[in-house]
């Protein structure tokens, strides 16, 4: 049995849809509407490096000049490593920054409390500074059990972070070391 498509159409609904559509071609007006509406057209463009694994892919961030928020993030085609490509996590970065679940205020949980309380930055940092000083001063060891100078506290510890920028890492280690911490660790150890 050899049925051509034409014949098939004839024996069924007898429609001429195929012809009609091919005469219409495409709708140019609609296409133009699409081009005009490219959502990134008037956005601010900045480059970034992906915040997940350490391949170090480049991405372009489109920030709306109206809202000040990211409206699109996609691979940077001029980046020599990823050449515009991104994995699913990289492709979703916009949802990392534009996310209703984000922390946007400093929070405090008092001893034995069952809830968070919104606090100001100034209060939070001042209180933390006081805690640091109190614990450090109380526990500071100038010498160890052998009588050697150690100038440290072992009662405060820090973990983190590979999620910080280099400049932040360096500044953070400077602060922690100047406080006398020896328990300084981060993701590289796990």
């Amino acid at each position: 049995m050899d049925i051509t498509r034409r014949k098939f159409i004839q024996v069924t609904a007898g429609t001429t849809a195929g012809l009609a559509v091919s005469n219409l071609g495409f709708n140019f007006e609609e296409a133009k509407a699409y081009s005009k509406n490219l959502k990134t057209k008037f956005a601010k463009e900045t480059t970034t490096i992906c915040c997940y694994c350490a391949v170090g892919c480049g991405a372009i961030v489109h920030t709306s000049k109206k809202t000040g928020r990211a409206i699109n993030i996609e691979g940077d085609p001029d980046h020599v490593i990823n050449r515009g490509s991104l994995c699913p996590k990289g492709a979703a970065i916009k949802q990392l920054s534009e996310n209703k679940n984000r922390l946007t205020e400093p929070m405090y949980r008092a001893p034995y409390s069952n809830k968070w309380k919104k606090v100001s930055w100034d209060w939070a940092l001042s209180e933390i500074a006081k805690r640091v000083k109190k614990t450090r001063d109380k526990s500071f060891e100038k010498k160890n059990s052998k009588g050697q100078i150690v100038n440290r506290t072992t009662r405060i510890a820090s973990v983190g972070s590979a999620a910080l920028d280099n400049e932040e890492c360096w500044t953070y280690q400077a602060l922690m070391r100047s406080l006398g911490l020896v328990y300084i660790e981060h993701q590289a150890r796990i």
Binding site: C51, C53, R69, L86, P106, N151, Q187
Partner: protein, 821 residues
Amino acid sequence: MTNHWIDIRNSDCILIMGSNAAENHPISFKYVTEAQQKGAKLISVDPRFTRTSSKADIYGGLRSGSDIAVLGGMIKYILENKLYNKEYVANYTNAPFLVNRSYKFKNGKFSGFDQSKKKYDKKKWGFKTDSKGVPSLDRSLRDKNTVFAHLKKHYSRYNLKKVSEISGVSKSKLLEIYKTYAATGKKGKAGTIMYAMGWTQHTVGTQNIRCMAMIQLLLGNMGVAGGGVNALRGESNVQGSTDHCLLWHIWPGYLKTPRASNTNLTKYNKKWTPVSHDSLSANWWGNTPKYSVSFLKSMFGEKAKKSNEFGYNWLPKVDDGKPYSWLDLFDEMYKGKMDGFFAWGQNPTCSGANAGKTRDAIEKLDWMVNVNIFDNETGSFWRGPGKDPSKIKTEVFMLPAAVSIEKEGSITNSGRWMQWRYQGPKPLGNSKPDGDIILELGQKIKSLYKKDGVFKEPIVNMKWDYETHGEFDAHKVAKEINGYFTKDVKVKGKLCKKGTLVPSFAWLQADGSTSSGNWLYCNSYTEKGNMAARRSKKDSENKIGLYPEFSWCWPVNRRIIYNRASVDLKGQPWDKKHWVVKFDGKVKDGKYVSKKWSGDVPDGGWYPMQNPDGTKRKDSKHPFIMRKHGHAQIFGPGKADGPFPEHYEPIESPLRKNPMSKQYNNPVAAVFNTDADKYAKPGSKFDIVCSTYRVTEHWQTGVMTRPQDLLMELQPQVFVELSEELAKIKKIKNGERVVVGSIRASLECTAVVTKRLKPFKIAGKTVHQAGLPWHYGWRWPDFAETGNVIEESSNLLTPSAGDPNTRIPETKAFMVSISKK
């Protein structure tokens, strides 16, 4: 990575073992694919058949924890079939060094083991030297006391039958893997290894990697394009944060943290500065005092003076021989020996092994500071599963951090590229960049100590001028990390003005005339500008994808380290097509008469070891400049657990005996003994080998990915992967909820029954293997949406046992049970 991502495309054979690059470093597959399309072979060795394995030419399924057996077998194969690059091995590695007779290996242990202290005396593994301490050697490799001879002897035991019995990989598959990979020993061929936590997270983690490094040295694969030992680091700036040493044992640039016995700066420098009397050894760490003093100058600025040892004693010291690592930290905290804690950009209650212990430990604190983008299982631990807030005293400060696209600064990728990124949107709401939080906290602490306080000098004297218009200025810190001349000085005949940036670490001084927060980054931000921000797409002349003017990489923009091992003794590349560096100096009468290297920044610009006529040069240096003796270490006497990698069973194993020797576990592995540290014994109900891992769609503990529904849609729930065979035995149906238990905890998850896992035949018995992703936790998304705890962290199950060198926990091989819910 000794090499970098793009360089993978230059490889002839890619071994992916201890990592799952297609899933966890997806863009690396751009270059794996490119290499394959040019004819390279891809070998995947993994307990599971992964998305990486699906693209491999050869797949070998091995039992978790048997990597050294498989690699040791490869060493045997290479040696027996003489597939190594002899010229390379004899001249660039310590294979020709003569080992002291006190070195011995018997019954699975090396000489020098102290049973009571559970420690080795590493002095027993030294080299024979002349009176000046220069190793005696036999470059013909014939002497029976050479490293090479010991290597042969050690791995002669790793025969196919034994390796197969331990690993479960069939003998024919082993041979196929060995043959394919060892083919890169041919001069001009390159093989590369891509590994990650699948190798580090074992009680033999360091030795897993050393074993592969030894293979790379035997095959002449170090320093060459398409070769190297490549750690695929898992976080965007875990390389940079390691370089800047947010770690207990090192100062920025891998300088040692002072030990209590290093009572002053002179003693510190003496202790940690290696000395070589071999005129052919560059012994780069001989520069240590320049780097340590420059670091102190960055820490304390003008307050660091020669008269106060540049503030050396203001910084804390650790006790000799005592570890302060992650596992130790939480062990101390669990014992109630800590009061305050910062969890900055990290989620230890899900990320650390034996996470239940961590959760209980935090409860004993007075206060905790948790800085993150999202609330997490750490910040909210007090309202987590099994916790009663009314009984938990710990005060918690939770600070909202900005997302990476909301701030400016640099991060360093796995290939050591430091890349600058810019601010797009401003920080959301009242969140702040971490840099601002650190800076302001520092200011507050400083002002408290200005009034009074115990030993306040380091705090008040710390240089802390990194703000511009009241905000953290990443450029200012980047410049400090690079370093300045602190006075007008003449270096190398050139006048360097005070306040100008140091051009590179070759200019750093030990007299306080230079500062540098991290010598490895000296050259990254110079008077020429911010090197990390460069964007040129022009490749180097050797056309191997170095892109030398795109970003910047340490050290001194050298894209492939150990690159002088990519050339023969006369400075000519083993691989003429994919050459990295080559010596292009002028030749007269068979001798080099001018110095010129082409290609990548060479690992030191000295003349080659030999002239074109084969005569030796005295003005050359051995290529492995970071080693005291200039040679790469096939024999590694500095490791805690022996100079050669040896197969030991994981702390939790399905076997009652180690088929390789009488020594069951790594005798110096880190184990703990609180009531929260339990280890399953063979023969218990925990009879299934398990490993944790990551999937493409989530990241680490999932704190950043679980609050994103676009990613949750792809991998919504914690799951356990198991074979069809095991599922049949346990009567488990694909997709149903099951319980995975270890001696420490149990976890409910969804069963993924798959052909991609197969039972192993190990030492005559059937051993099942399972696997769990570790991305989940109770806080997101379920608790947020329903108030219920549904998905939990697989690290509740993993053991707090660690590698003796790094103390990284053994989360890649432990024992579990699986049952229907």
